[in-house]
């Protein structure tokens, strides 16, 4: 028969979740875990021998740990591992798959300002800063990281067709619209070389009434 002592402390799904290069290590404890379980996190670069303890994620009861700063070099790949310790059970360790933020990160929807006018709608896309810094400490935007990045803007016109605009610049204007009419705009970020596409930022906008008559 197996006493509790024999079974390891429950620990599963140790992995990185990455959005716009915010790299969070997450894990789960599983169904029969004890509330007294504590976790400790270590990480290292692929190719290094030594594991480094992540300060702030030692003997924590949390089930996530922010490793953004520790995994911020885009030319490196990383591993992280979690040690779970709980009363009456064997300690348990689990390691992530090899992690590359360039390959794994997903892109969040852009931050956009939609400005309605009488016969047009202007769309201003704001730059997206990331936690990644260049060698001289400058904080990089998504555009600086993905050189093929571009924006795709769609304006749905009464469910029959869409107006499309696309490009690398950040200011766009859909022209020739009917006054006092509602439109739905959807703006996505694409980085095709990495097969990355953000979810759309959606804005519902109504053109202004034409008061010139």
């Amino acid at each position: 028969a197996r006493t509790t002592e024999d079974t390891a402390c429950p620990l599963q799904y140790v992995k990185f979740q990455s959005r716009n290069f915010e790299n969070i290590l997450v894990w789960d404890s599983g169904p029969d875990s004890s509330p007294d379980t504590v976790y400790s996190v270590e990480y290292k670069r692929y190719g290094d021998r030594v594991w480094l303890a992540k300060a702030g994620c030692q003997r924590t009861t949390q089930k996530s740990c922010n490793l953004t700063m520790e995994t911020g070099n885009l030319t490196e790949l990383y591993y992280a591992r979690v040690k779970a310790v709980c009363p009456g059970r064997k300690q348990n360790n689990k390691t992530t798959d090899r992690f590359s933020s360039l390959q794994h990160t997903t892109i969040k929807p852009p931050d956009v300002t939609c400005i309605p006018k009488v016969r047009s709608i202007q769309m201003l896309i704001h730059p997206t800063l990331t936690p990644i810094r260049s060698e001289n400490g400058h904080q990089l935007t998504l555009e600086e990281i993905f050189r093929d990045l571009f924006y795709r803007l769609e304006l749905r016109v009464n469910h029959t067709y869409q107006m499309h605009l696309e490009g690398k610049q950040r200011e766009y204007e859909f022209l020739g619209l009917t006054p006092d009419t509602e439109f739905i705009g959807a703006i996505t970020i694409l980085a095709p070389m990495w097969s990355k596409e953000s979810a759309p930022y959606v804005c519902r906008v109504k053109t202004l009434p034409d008061r010139t008559w």
Binding site: G47, D48, R98
Partner: protein
């Protein structure tokens, strides 16, 4: 197309290569449990000049075709991995066939610099047990593709 300095390679869709590798990445990399060794180190691939890049990519891809893929093939059990492997190998053959590294004498120092980088990689490979090195090298195709991507124009 790829532009490795003077060398141009058209007709290769890089996202297709990524797709092929991502389909098997975790399976292949999980077979490599020596996480303290990296074959394609920074010294091999960082700060490679355009002029060097054609020589280096030619050497690396030929090594992958003649040594890594050729010997790794017998380890493949699953058809899914076989298909990804085939897609990568056939695209590498396409690239190598279109690369024409210059043999001019005035390029000698550049080609030798590229050769030294390649030898760093090859030496690290030879220092390991062959089976282990094959698995590790195949698992590092993403490092190779990430470097090649710098020379890719959509």
């Amino acid at each position: 197309e790829f532009r490795f300095g003077p060398c141009r390679v058209e007709g290769v869709v890089l996202p297709e290569l990524w797709e092929a590798f991502w389909a098997v990445k975790n399976t292949v990399q999980a077979q490599d449990d020596i996480t303290s060794v990296r074959l394609l180190k920074a010294q091999v691939l960082q700060n490679v000049s355009d002029a060097e890049s054609c020589y280096l990519v030619h050497s690396l891809l030929k090594f992958y075709l003649n040594t890594v893929f050729k010997n790794y093939h017998s380890k493949i059990a699953k058809v899914k991995i076989l298909k990804s492997f085939s897609s990568l190998a056939n695209n590498f053959i396409d690239i190598v066939s279109k690369l024409q590294p210059s043999k001019d004498k005035d390029m000698l120092s550049i080609s030798e610099s590229a050769h030294r980088r390649f030898m760093l990689f090859r030496r690290a490979f030879k220092q390991m047990d062959t089976e282990v090195a094959l698995v590790k090298a195949f698992g590092e195709v993403d490092i190779l593709l990430t470097w090649m991507q710098k020379f890719y124009q959509l």
